[in-house]
């Protein structure tokens, strides 16, 4: 019966569900939560690298939505963007608290891009799972401001305009950070691949004499 109610709500927009939950409709709240929680949880997971933190952040995000002083304004962006914005603030707060435990990030746009050694496919030769793990490590190693654009645009598939709203910056800044982030990712993946190639080079080889 509850699932039938959920199906009824699935066709409604986020704003309609928000209106209903403001009027005490629990099913609307559950429908909205189920629609948006995955992306928020994954974003928090990508950014914090911790399932426990991601769980806490997801809970806090939707609790904030329940509060009457929730500052969502549909004129300023989508509800999804608003939820990502709250999650981002919570992530940043968590990162600030744990700053002593993590290495300082090179967090500036002024870093000159280094020349990349061109490798056609930095993930070549890896299984799907190995490739994803390599990518996960590379994304985690990115400075925070590049990591968040990769997570929002590449992993959660927001367009640049929505990401700009979440990050509170111009769309051009999102585009330039994205470009820089991809370059850094390729560099990191290449660095990880070089030792592997070096080890491969030590393998015994047969020479035809």
């Amino acid at each position: 019966m509850i699932e039938d109610s959920m199906a009824q709500y699935s066709s409604q927009t986020d704003d309609e569900l928000l209106f209903r939950l403001r009027n005490g409709d629990e099913h609307a709240f559950v429908a909205l939560y189920r629609r948006r929680q995955g992306a928020i949880y994954r974003f928090a997971m990508h950014m914090s690298g911790s399932p426990a933190s991601a769980e806490d952040i997801t809970q806090e995000v939707f609790l904030a939505l329940l509060r009457q002083e929730c500052g969502y304004d549909r004129e300023r962006g989508t509800l999804s963007g608003y939820l990502f914005g709250i999650a981002r603030k919570l992530v940043l707060r968590g990162l600030e608290r744990g700053r002593a435990d993590v290495p300082l990030e090179v967090d500036t746009d002024e870093v000159a891009p280094r020349e990349l050694a061109v490798i056609d496919d930095p993930l070549a030769g890896l299984t799907r799972r190995e490739a994803i793990e390599a990518l996960r490590r590379a994304v985690q190693a990115l400075p925070r401001r590049y990591r968040e654009v990769v997570v929002l645009c590449d992993l959660e598939e927001l367009d640049y305009a929505d990401a700009a709203v979440v990050l509170g910056c111009p769309i051009g800044t999102v585009r330039s950070r994205m470009h820089r982030a991809r370059a850094l990712l390729l560099e990191k993946l290449n660095q990880d691949r070089k030792p592997r190639l070096a080890v491969d080079a030590w393998k015994p080889m047969r020479y035809a004499i």
Partner: protein, 221 residues
């Protein structure tokens, strides 16, 4: 599209090229080679997205939030119920209290100040101005010293204007010190000079006092 334009506007998704970008890569081998790692990166990221697409928060998060929603909704309902009872009551009570306070202030402000003890020097008005048309007999200019005594026991006040024939008078009852009555020539005994006595004052049509009479035993004390 040239090489500069291609790299200034990279595709939002690494593997989602527009027509112009695809055309440029087809004709520019250098850009195609340089773009190949980006294409591979996009492919790897897409694999990651698909792998994690089903990743969600644990069910206990939903359970906790639903409980919070229920408790919060109940809280708001209770508050709304309390509001529906108390808000109008408090508002009306406050308004009524304010009105009473304002009314009391205004009434007190318009009350005549009570005379200080021992300073009763002027006649005190003790009744509503009675418009009593008294037809006092005009004083006879040819009469002798009793000409100050008018009809109905009124005594003409010293230096008062002459009373014209058929002039209308208003009579006002007041309290005046006995000593003042003596000074006006009204017969009041000496031992009651310190007391206040009741008297009627005849006011002319111009509002000035013309005559006075004692209220008491035959007009004398």
């Amino acid at each position: 599209m040239n090489c500069q334009e291609f790299w200034n506007n990279p595709p939002q998704r690494g593997d989602n090229l527009g027509e112009e970008q695809t055309a440029h890569l087809a004709e520019c081998g250098a850009c195609a080679a340089q773009f190949e790692p980006h294409r591979a990166l996009a492919k790897g990221l897409q694999s990651w997205v698909e792998e994690w697409r089903q990743l969600e928060a644990p069910p206990r998060v939903e359970a906790g939030l639903t409980a919070a929603f229920r408790s919060q909704t109940g809280f708001h309902v209770r508050r709304a119920v309390r509001h529906s009872w108390w808000t109008p009551v408090i508002a009306w009570a406050s308004a009524a209290a304010a009105m009473i306070a304002l009314a009391a202030l205004l009434v007190r402000g318009y009350q005549p100040a009570s005379p200080r003890p021992g300073t009763v020097a002027a006649p005190r008005h003790i009744s509503q101005p009675v418009v009593e048309v008294a037809t006092l007999p005009p004083a006879d200019a040819d009469s002798d010293d009793d000409s100050s005594v008018l009809g109905d026991g009124f005594v003409r006040l010293p230096n008062a204007p002459r009373i014209e024939p058929n002039e209308d008078f208003n009579v006002v009852r007041v309290e005046v010190p006995g000593s003042a009555m003596i000074a006006m020539g009204v017969p009041v005994s000496e031992d009651r000079a310190a007391e206040t006595v009741l008297a009627d004052v005849a006011l002319g049509s111009d509002g000035t006092a013309r005559a006075i009479r004692l209220i008491g035993d035959g007009g004398t004390f």
